[in-house]
Amino acid sequence: MATTPTTSRTISVEINGTTYEREVPASRLLVHFLRDDLDLTGTHVGCDTGSCGACTVQLDGAAVKSCCMLAVQADGASLRTVEGLAGEDGELSALQQAFHTHHGLQCGYCTPGMLMSATALLERNPHPSEDEVKLALQGNICRCTGYWNIVEAVVAAGEGGAQ
């Protein structure tokens, strides 16, 4: 039977340094809140089972799948999305740069999620090994690259000592 959203709530979240206050229906997923309500369309949707990681964002520092949370659950949290990775002046992060240099993306649809998972990894482990990178990215699907160049890019970003 249908469940009409009869309740909504006002939430406040900080995203990439900006605080947003919005009223959201209870049934809205965090990913759709980001994309549809705030126009932060860098975060993508690739599945409906929490399997692909295209929607990965950082929530209070941890990489989470924003399709597996309701927007109301993010009330009070601090989020970072792909739009928040480059510097104020538009300078790419070392990881973004490494994806570019190592051809770690083709269609670019998985890329925001990959970058967010890898950013979270590099923050807790600045110099990951190849296996550590693969483990950290196992929740992120890429259908274009076969992962080899992605793993290479993340390892290279770590070797540069960036982040």
Binding site: T41, H100, Y109, R143
Partner: protein, 818 residues
């Protein structure tokens, strides 16, 4: 590790061409600034959700949408009854019986697979549309289901499309050479009862969708979408909607992967168009993952029955005969083109001259098929490779030697196959050597013993494939002689604008292949500037006048058709720039050279006009010019040199180029569990001249990953009631980072003599992976009963079966020797 060996190159490599120029596309994509269709919003747009069939085969008794309409925020609905009034059925590529299929944008009267769209509901939000769809009641009367193509063709099977008089959509006999004589001459005849190529697809990470607007004043629709073959979509949609193609504007920018799976979205786009007009508001449709898996573009599943192979005592292969049964699923969206596309590579890479294929396509209660990376050729190549390895296994030949003996040799190039296709260039034996070296094949027996000491079965596998690129659409006439399609075309424009901007538009719809970058490389070298100064518009737009009937990105052709068009337009522009500079300097155009962003007199660098001056003269300062100045706005249509194939003999050149891939792998099988681990992997590719080696290698990697996935984990498995058992990424296991083996790549460059730049299309060469893993498993299992691998898909439980009951698979094979 990358090794490159180059045949005598025809192309003088430029400053940009031949270099791994980092991609222009990346800047926006790594910052989340790409524009995918779902990122586009319009005021007042309504979100569309489909009500889909829960039955694989059923009559629709009644549909009641009233409860949905009562929900506040619901804008409206569309049913099959309305679609049947407002549109005509889609044009069918098939001749009768398949030509009788009536295919509409929504189910009319009957549903034929689980997940088929029955009703469309539009509401204010995504969530509401989904909830409202739940309120639609549809009553069905279930019918008997058939999910096996072999059974679907039998007498008494439930019939999907009554108009067709049965489930057969296409059948034809393809025979070349003298097959009977070949079998008479053979010393051994190897027969293989049944081989099966499994159903899967490349599952791009972004699902299908569109934002569609209707302009009531002009009657025009604009579709921001991710359809990857706008030329085909328009041809399908125009007649269905009863409008001319000028009314259909298709726009793409960034597309999240395609792999052929996004060619046949025209039914859903028609639904969006009808609703945009009916509800007077923009329509947003985004498919969910489960919907994609249940309803979109599965790859063709194929059976090969009663195969016989004629072999000489020395291992020379003379020919084969087989009966192919192709499963098209419930509707013929791009089919029965799969019924001819395979013949682009009818003999695989081998010199056998006597071939007979009885090809029959069946319709079943499963999702419709349409192109999938390696479309229809992958199945045929897998078949030829499997045959080679089974023959080697049964007659005791070395799989390497039998390949080398039977490969088309470099001195045979260009080589005309028995059915008139022309393999343009390449050195297959040398590529095989390279691949074997990369996986350390010389130490294989040592490694086998070492693995055995750990209780593992180790095997070496080879997969040799061709990626035939740039279709001659005349081949469609081989499955339906009445069709009026032939040749191919692609369009580009290159212009010099008022401030000297070099602007390029393409008809293609890239989904990650880096067209903006490679097009810029070609233009930069042709008109004498750097890559950064060339601005390539992202995507396709029917309003740009840079498209033709076959525009799109599919079938391994951009490096030929797309870049051929770019090169042609850039050459035209270079000629005009020289002409204009010659007018200014009062010299002959031949005295002008274009370099570093200037048109200058050769040998006199002082006399130089920057591109900006040329652009300004033509666009803003043209009065008083003595002659007609050139336009500096050049449009070029690239048209490959094709003839219409001979329909009687089913003979002719069906594709312009043949890239080659040799994959080799070492696998270890755990006999306790059947789990296969790929421990070494190499892919050697030859796609002629490489404009951007890094992008080429990226395509090789991606295609390899698809193949490994298909060989080991990915399958669209159905139960007998027509339920898809793998309807999402939870059950349909695509490879993850941890699944990927170490990979070595290498390249040979044998330029194509037939293309403007010596390039060959190459995006779909991954089939090699399926073959080499099958071969690797069969080789590993030699020490455990000698099972024969008869399926393209070998998950652990199937391998375990092969180990537990090798005799069952062996019953499939028989050798008769004279």
């Amino acid at each position: 590790m990358t090794t490159v060996e180059t045949e005598a190159p025809t192309l003088q490599k430029g400053a940009a061409m031949g270099q791994s120029v980092p991609r222009k596309e990346d800047g926006r994509l790594v910052q989340g600034q790409g524009v995918f269709f779902d990122d586009i919003k319009r005021h007042g747009m309504g979100f569309l959700h489909f009500v889909r069939s829960p039955y694989a085969h059923a009559k629709i008794e009644s549909i009641d949408v009233s409860a949905a309409h009562e929900l506040p925020g619901v804008y409206g609905t569309l049913t099959g009854d309305e679609v049947a009034i407002l549109t005509d059925p889609f044009f069918q590529i098939a001749a009768p019986p398949g030509g009788h299929v009536k295919d509409y944008a929504l189910a009319v009267g009957k549903v034929r697979y689980i997940g088929e769209p029955v009703v469309a509901v539009v509401a204010q939000t995504r969530e509401l549309a989904r909830d409202a769809a739940e309120l639609v009641t549809v009553e069905y009367e279930p019918l008997e289901v058939v999910v096996d193509a072999r059974k679907a063709l039998q007498e008494g099977a439930p019939v999907l499309h009554e108009e067709c008089g049965g489930n057969m959509s296409y059948t034809g006999v393809w025979e070349w050479g003298d097959v009977d004589a070949a079998f008479a001459e053979a010393d051994h005849i190897v027969s293989i009862k049944e081989l099966h190529f499994d159903r899967f697809n490349s599952t791009p990470l972004e699902c299908d969708g569109a934002l569609v607007e209707y302009n009531r004043g002009t009657g025009q629709w604009t579709m921001y979408t991710n359809n990857q073959f706008p030329g085909f979509a328009a041809i399908m949609m125009g007649p269905a909607l009863r409008v001319g193609l000028d009314k259909l504007r298709i726009v793409t920018q960034d597309i999240g992967g395609g792999f052929g799976n996004k060619i046949t979205t025209h039914p859903q786009l028609v639904v969006c168009c009808l609703l945009a007009r009916k509800l007077k508001r923009p329509i947003q449709w985004t498919e969910w993952r489960t919907e994609f898996h249940q309803s979109m573009s599965h790859g063709n599943e194929r059976w090969f029955e009663d195969t016989e192979v004629a072999v000489k005592a020395d291992g020379t292969l003379l020919g084969f005969r087989t009966k192919a049964i192709d499963d098209a699923g419930a509707y013929l969206r791009y089919e029965p083109l799969g019924g001819v596309i395979w013949s682009q590579v009818a003999p695989g890479m081998y010199k056998w001259r006597h071939l007979r294929v009885e090809f029959t396509q069946a319709m079943t209660n499963k999702a419709p098929c349409s192109p999938n990376r390696g479309y229809s050729r992958m199945q045929q190549l897998w078949f030829t490779e499997r045959v080679i390895d089974i023959v080697a296994h049964e007659l005791g030949f070395d799989p390497v030697e039998i390949r080398k003996r039977n490969y088309v040799q470099p001195e045979d190039m260009p080589y005309e196959t028995p059915n008139g296709c022309v393999y343009d260039s390449g050195d297959y034996p040398r590529a095989l050597e390279m691949a074997l070296e990369l996986v350390g094949a010389d130490r294989i027996e040592e490694r086998r013993a070492e693995a055995a000491s750990r209780g593992k079965l180790l095997g070496l596998g080879i997969g040799s494939t061709l990626d035939s690129g740039t279709n001659n659409f005349g081949q469609s006439q081989l499955v339906n002689p009445d069709l009026q399609f032939s040749g191919n075309n692609e369009v580009a424009t290159v212009k010099l604008d008022i401030f000297g901007e070099v602007v390029v538009t393409l008809g293609t719809t890239p989904q990650g292949q880096g067209h903006e970058t490679t097009a810029a490389q070609v233009v930069a070298d042709t008109i004498g500037c750097d890559v950064d100064s060339v601005h390539v518009r992202a995507g396709h737009d029917s309003y740009w006048n840079s498209h033709a009937g076959f525009s799109g990105t599919y079938a391994s052709q951009f490096a030929v058709t797309g870049l051929g068009a770019v090169k042609g337009a850039a050459d035209m522009l270079a000629g005009q720039m020289k002409q204009l500079a010659a007018m200014v300097f009062q010299c002959a155009p031949d005295d002008i050279e274009l370099a570093e962003g200037f048109a200058r007199i050769k040998g006199n660098p002082e006399a130089a006009l920057p591109f900006m001056a040329l652009g300004a003269i033509v666009n803003a300062n043209n009065a008083g010019f003595p002659d007609d100045p050139p336009t500096l706005n050049c449009r070029y249509v690239y048209r490959p040199p094709f003839q219409v194939p001979d329909k009687e003999r089913k003979f002719g050149n069906l594709t312009l180029t043949y890239s080659m891939q040799i994959h080799a792998c070492v696998v270890e099988v755990d006999p306790e569990t059947g789990v296969t681990e790929v421990v070494d992997y190499a892919a050697v590719d030859d796609c002629g001249t490489r404009i951007n080696p890094q992008i080429v290698e990226g395509q090789v990697m991606g295609a390899t990953a698809h193949a490994i996935g298909a060989a080991l984990w990915e399958t669209f498995a159905y139960d007998e009631d027509g339920n898809l058992l793998t309807p999402n990424f939870y059950d349909y296991h695509v490879p993850h980072a941890l699944d990927m083996p170490p990979l070595k790549t290498a390249a040979i460059e044998s330029p194509s003599p037939f293309t403007p730049l010596g390039t060959k299309g190459m995006g779909e060469g991954g089939g090699g992976g399926i073959h080499c893993i099958c071969a690797g498993i069969q080789d590993a299992l030699r020490a455990a009963g000698g099972a024969i691998v008869t399926d393209s898909h070998n998950p652990y439980h199937r391998v375990w079966e092969l180990i537990a009951h090798p005799e069952r698979s062996r019953e499939n094979v028989e050798v008769r020797s004279k």
